[in-house]
């Protein structure tokens, strides 16, 4: 037996496996903190501005997305995601980062073909499947 006999299988012993437990703990706490912050914002909008629950949640989402776009623009969101993993990518902040990062990346090809044309390159799949999932859920959960 050896590496050469079955490379695809045997090489796994040489590939460091991801720290699944540590990643899960970090994602849980960081993602949870972001969600708690968004909930606090929503409660604050509801209390201070007498916003309806739907409005308050939309405003909170927009502020969180805006925060992610600012962090992306100053080049910090990718470092943060490397640390927090799914705790940074699975939230609306992750979607904002995906769209903003693609827009920044393709600014050099102009506003139309570059920014607008490529903006959904990384976040497009989340938008499309998010819409489909929302539609299906809307049918079964009125």
């Amino acid at each position: 037996m050896g590496l050469k006999s079955d490379y695809v299988r045997e090489v796994k012993a040489f590939q460091p496996s991801p720290p699944y437990a540590a990643n899960a703990v970090k994602a849980f706490f960081v993602g949870g903190m972001f969600c708690a912050l968004a909930q606090w914002l929503a409660d604050w909008y509801g209390g201070t501005f007498a916003a309806s629950p739907l409005e308050a949640h939309l405003w909170a989402s927009m502020v969180m997305a805006g925060l992610a776009i600012v962090l992306t623009a100053v080049g910090k969101y990718d470092d943060f995601s490397q640390f927090a993993g799914a705790g940074a990518t699975m939230l609306i902040t992750g979607l904002a980062n995906a769209i903003a990062s693609a827009a920044i990346e393709h600014r050099s090809e102009g506003w139309t073909a570059g920014v607008a044309g490529q903006m959904l390159k990384a976040g497009g799949a989340a938008v499309i499947y998010g819409l489909i999932a929302a539609y299906v859920l809307g049918l079964v959960w009125p």
Binding site: V11, F14, Q15, D78, A88, G94, N97, S101, A102
Partner: protein
């Protein structure tokens, strides 16, 4: 010049590297080999408007610096061989646009450094050029855009991922005796071990590197002990262990003479995951650090094996595995070459 064995060219009538130069970005300048590079940029944009222009500037600077060191004008060079990682080899083509030199564009992914050097040596040895210039480049941000994601996209990368080196290297090869002699080159075969993860290219390329190194030993009847250093291009922390294991399985123990450019170019505390990669990785380490240490007498004979993952994003998305290749060149300190058997 003659072919020995199946894949090895031996340049026994004198082919020399007359000058070489390396230009790098900020992280590489800050690394342990920073003092060996000719041009160091403090900013990833290198004073240009886009990253693609920055990469072009790096290659142009490496070429200019190399010619200046050799005391040769571009008009006196008979052939320019270059390649990079961008679609259509854009950096090389645009640099060649500015040079009055007949141009052959080559693509070997990250093996391009030794691919162009081996080809340049062969053209010179064959009498088709008196002087041939070999160059290659890569840029972290252009490669990220080309092969991976937008630079600022938050994606958690695994420990097996590598970090593309920002830089460019150039070497002038010619008949007139220089400080370094190109003694032999082993042209690799494409080897596909069946791996599909583009974030673990070290493991995908290690079998190609082992194949070329073994073939080199067999073709020339040499052993690891005949070299002061056998260095692979960008196998990184993951692939460098695998290639040693593969060679050990074939009965070659390279442990004492082996290193990898991807491990040499950055400090362990620099955040580069498994190590450096890209065309420039082997190019700047060889043309910056290794040649200077050869001239200084630290090494007498090197075998530089540049490794390339022939990655296509479309093929990866279609669930195809990643083919890989490795080309090796033997470089010696001129005037003190130890005997090369046979």
């Amino acid at each position: 010049m003659k072919r020995v064995g199946k894949q090895t060219w031996v340049f026994d009538d004198g082919v020399y590297i007359q000058a070489a130069a390396a230009a790098v970005g900020p992280l590489e300048a800050d690394g342990p080999l920073g003092s060996y590079f000719d041009v160091c940029h403090r900013d990833l944009y290198c004073g240009e408007a886009t990253w693609e222009l920055a990469e072009r500037r790096l290659m142009r600077e490496a070429v200019d610096c190399c010619l200046q060191k050799a005391g040769v004008s571009a008009e006196e060079v008979d052939l320019f061989l270059a390649g990079d990682l961008l679609n259509q080899n854009a950096t090389s083509n645009y640099v060649a646009r500015e040079l009055p030199i007949p141009f052959l564009c080559l693509f070997g992914a990250c093996s391009t450094s030794m691919q162009t050097l081996a080809a340049a040596a062969a053209f010179v040895a064959g009498g088709l050029a008196d002087r041939a210039l070999a160059a290659t480049s890569s840029h972290n941000a252009t490669a990220e855009r080309q092969f991976r994601y937008p630079t600022e996209l938050g994606v958690q990368k695994p420990k097996t991922a590598t970090f593309t080196v920002t830089g460019a290297g150039a070497a002038l090869v010619g008949r007139a005796p220089g400080r370094w002699r190109v003694r032999a080159a082993t042209i690799g075969k494409v080897v596909d071990a069946g791996l599909k993860n583009p974030l673990d290219m070290g493991a995908a390329m290690a079998p190609a590197a082992a194949d070329t190194i073994e073939q080199h030993f067999r073709d020339l009847g040499v052993s690891p002990g005949d070299y002061d250093l056998i260095v692979t291009g960008d196998l990184s922390r993951v692939g460098s262990v695998i290639v040693r294991e593969l060679l050990a399985e074939s009965g070659y123990d390279v442990t004492d003479v082996y290193n990898d450019c991807g491990l040499m170019i950055y400090r362990p505390d620099q955040k580069v995951f498994a190590g450096g990669s890209g065309c420039a990785c082997s190019a700047v380490v060889t043309y910056g650090y290794l040649l200077q240490e050869l001239a200084r007498g630290t090494f007498r004979r090197l075998f530089v094996v540049a490794t390339g993952a022939l990655l296509s994003q479309t093929m990866v998305q279609q669930k195809q595995s990643i083919p890989a290749i490795a080309h090796g060149v033997v470089i010696e300190a001129a005037g003190q070459e130890p005997d090369l058997p046979p």
